[in-house]
Amino acid sequence: MRRRMIGLVRKEFAQIVRDRPLVIILLWAFTAAIYSAGQGRATETMNLATAVYDLSRGPASREFVSHLQPPYFKTVAYLDHEADVATWLDRGKAALVVIIPPDFQREVDGIGQAHIQVLTDGALAMPATVSIAYIAAISARYSVDVLERRAGMSANTLIRGPIIDERLRVKFNPNMSSSWFAALLELLNMCTMVSLLLTAANLVREKEHGTVERLLVSPARPVEIFLAKIIPTVLLVLICSGLSFVFVLVPAFDLPIRGSLVLFFSVTALYVFAMTSMGIAIALVARNMAQAVLMMILILQPMIFLSGAWNPPEAMSPWLRGISLLSPLRYFIDFSFGVILKGNGGLTLIWDIVGIAALGIVLFTFSLWWFERSLRVTT
């Protein structure tokens, strides 16, 4: 029996490795794609392209504008005409326009109040609101400078004033480094995608070519055929994940590995086993590759995007949250972040592991049962 298994596994492996474009895209998926996801996320939200429409053109307005600094703002243009304001926002060349009124200098030098207007492009709600908040903070700090000047204090007359000393602490992801987060998440997504697609596609291909029959008349039992389809994918995904740790995650993003990698890779193997079982179930239902692909997307996309990694669960409706409990990816993300970023051990994460294992066993038994049933029908 063992010899038979080894033979089958070797056959599956050879089939994958001999497909040159497939090998290239797999390597790309676990290295360059993960790198670009991490990089892409790192550039998020900051350096908002800012256009300034300065009607005052005095030293005061120049001083104010000089506070619009990276990493929050990047001044891309000084506008001369009112019509430009709409053009820059319409074209999306600027994410916001700061309008400084003509009386800015007079008000700042006098005792009144100057009103600055900020127009933001609401097409992206998050940067639109956050930029207004940042400018409000800048103008409040600038106001304090103006107040001190009005009160006749120079920089060397040290006077204390009421200040709120804000001690900001970000919990759970201290430096808000979204590149770790995004890169690790992308690795988990790749594991999901590759293990599902590869197995399903391999089995569908055998169905399309009619070579399933060849397997069926061979002395191999259905369990063996199954395991032979699953094992190569598991090994391949483990090897590729290892590569992405060695070549991308650690060197490029300084991913801190706080927990045990042995634990991580063992559970990854378990997870890939669950996903490949799901792939086999799909392959058994679908008649051809095109059908199989669409069914997989129907499962994959919601799974990846509603895993709770992109958006907080409170944003999801309760029934959607209920469905997400059925997704193995959800447990896997919890587990991986726990092991790698928080250094948790197997005991703390036992429920995630149980969740993955339970879903894996259910999917495996289901597809095995379905496969044996369809055998009886065809023979």
């Binding site: 700042v108 900020v118 609401g122 107040l147 602490r169 480094s177 596609a201 919601p302 409170e314 959607l320």
Partner: protein
């Protein structure tokens, strides 16, 4: 010649129509996935759940807290009774931010000193954490400026206690700041790149795997007739799906739409032609359906999401990312989609985007036709 092209189109159309399960899936899957993602993803930047732990319990600390609760950006969930409760609220994700006001808050501020306030923000979702810390920073700075003005006025050092500079923010195009207005049309951009390309990517490799590609090799049809003929039915199918997605946007999610549907439809057609072309290009160069599938998933989808400006404005990206985004058709279509849906811009604004998309399509089909060699091996 025209009849040969028509024959290829007819054959390919029949193949699609004769697989009803496939046809139904091809139409229904984009709609279902878009609906699920739209429901799960709509995340408003307003009403961030927040908790306070007020150890000072003074009129001043109440003023300070009302600066938060009066803004529409925070929603007070609970006044915590202890420091432990604050941690527990954050850990259970009942709140995404918490502010701890020390017992000497009003005393220190009254004396013109610095009072330290502890702000705790949940960093699990970086972009949300950024919004939260941005707002809290703004509220703190403004509260301090107001106090400073009052303080100096009390000491008679300035004549009026008004804060010298005020900021009025106005949000254009999406005044109610609803995320769905940018998200749901954005999902359409991704769908119309992904599905047409994926389905078209399987077309030629399928024939290669089955061996029926030899029929094409030895038939009189020329290379361009094969590629164009195979593209037509998929463009038609995707165009049909586009109308359904548009209806989903307008009638189910009631996304703000101020522009001209005709402009959008013209842009969508060009975009679909380009994405089907990308699929065929992949199909020409891959030998198995598995590989074609993975290439579409990884090489087409991820960059379209990351660099098109779907999540973050391209204008703020780094130079290298901006250059990448220029080579992604989704960047141009997303500009047009937002321009039409939210900004109400007309054809005149999109000349450049339309020409670029057209160029993309021409190049992609060109390479696909040249790459498809009518010989074995």
């Amino acid at each position: 010649m025209a009849s040969r092209l028509a024959a290829v189109v007819r054959k390919e159309t029949r193949e699609v129509l004769r697989d009803p399960i496939y046809l139904v899936l091809a139409i229904v899957v984009p709609l279902v996935v878009t609906t699920l993602l739209a429901l799960g993803f709509v995340l408003d930047v307003k009403n961030l759940p927040v908790a306070f732990y007020d150890e000072d319990r003074s009129p001043l600390s109440r003023d300070y807290m009302s600066a938060f609760t009066n803004s529409e950006y925070f929603r007070l969930v609970k006044m915590a009774g202890s420091r432990d409760e604050v941690d527990q609220l954050l850990e259970s994700a009942a709140v995404r931010a918490a502010v701890v006001i020390p017992p000497d808050f009003s005393r220190k501020l009254g004396a013109g000193d610095a009072a330290s306030v502890q702000v705790l923000v949940d960093g699990t979702f970086p972009s949300r954490a950024l919004v939260a810390s941005g707002y809290i920073g703004a509220i703190d700075a403004q509260f301090a400026a107001t106090l400073r003005a009052a303080h100096l006025a009390r000491q008679g050092l300035i004549r009026s206690s008004v804060v010298p500079v005020s900021v009025e923010g106005r949000v254009w195009y999406n005044p109610s700041l609803e995320t769905k207005n940018s998200l749901v049309p954005g999902l359409m951009v991704i769908s119309l790149m992904f599905y047409p390309a994926l389905l078209a990517a399987l077309v030629l490799v399928r024939e290669k795997e089955r061996g029926t590609v030899f029929n094409l090799y030895c038939s009189p049809v020329s290379r361009w007739e094969v590629i164009i003929g195979k593209a037509v039915p998929y463009v038609g199918l995707a165009f049909f799906v586009y109308f359904l997605l548009l209806a989903l946007n307008l009638f189910v999610f009631q996304v703000r739409f101020v522009g001209d549907p005709f402009v959008l439809t013209a842009a969508a057609l060009l975009y679909i032609v380009a994405s089907v072309g990308f699929g065929l290009l992949i199909s020409v160069f891959c030998t198995t359906q598995v590989a074609a599938m993975l290439v579409t998933f990884i090489a087409l989808m991820t960059p379209s999401i990351l660099f098109s400006g779907l999540m973050t404005p391209v204008s703020g990206m780094e130079r290298s990312a901006q250059i990448i985004s220029r080579f992604i058709p989704a960047s141009y279509f997303i500009t047009m989609v937002r321009g039409v849906f939210l900004k109400g811009l007309g054809f005149g604004h999109f000349a450049f985007d339309l020409v670029t998309l057209g160029t993309f399509a021409a190049v992609v089909y060109g390479i696909a036709i040249l790459g498809f060699r009518k010989r074995a091996g």
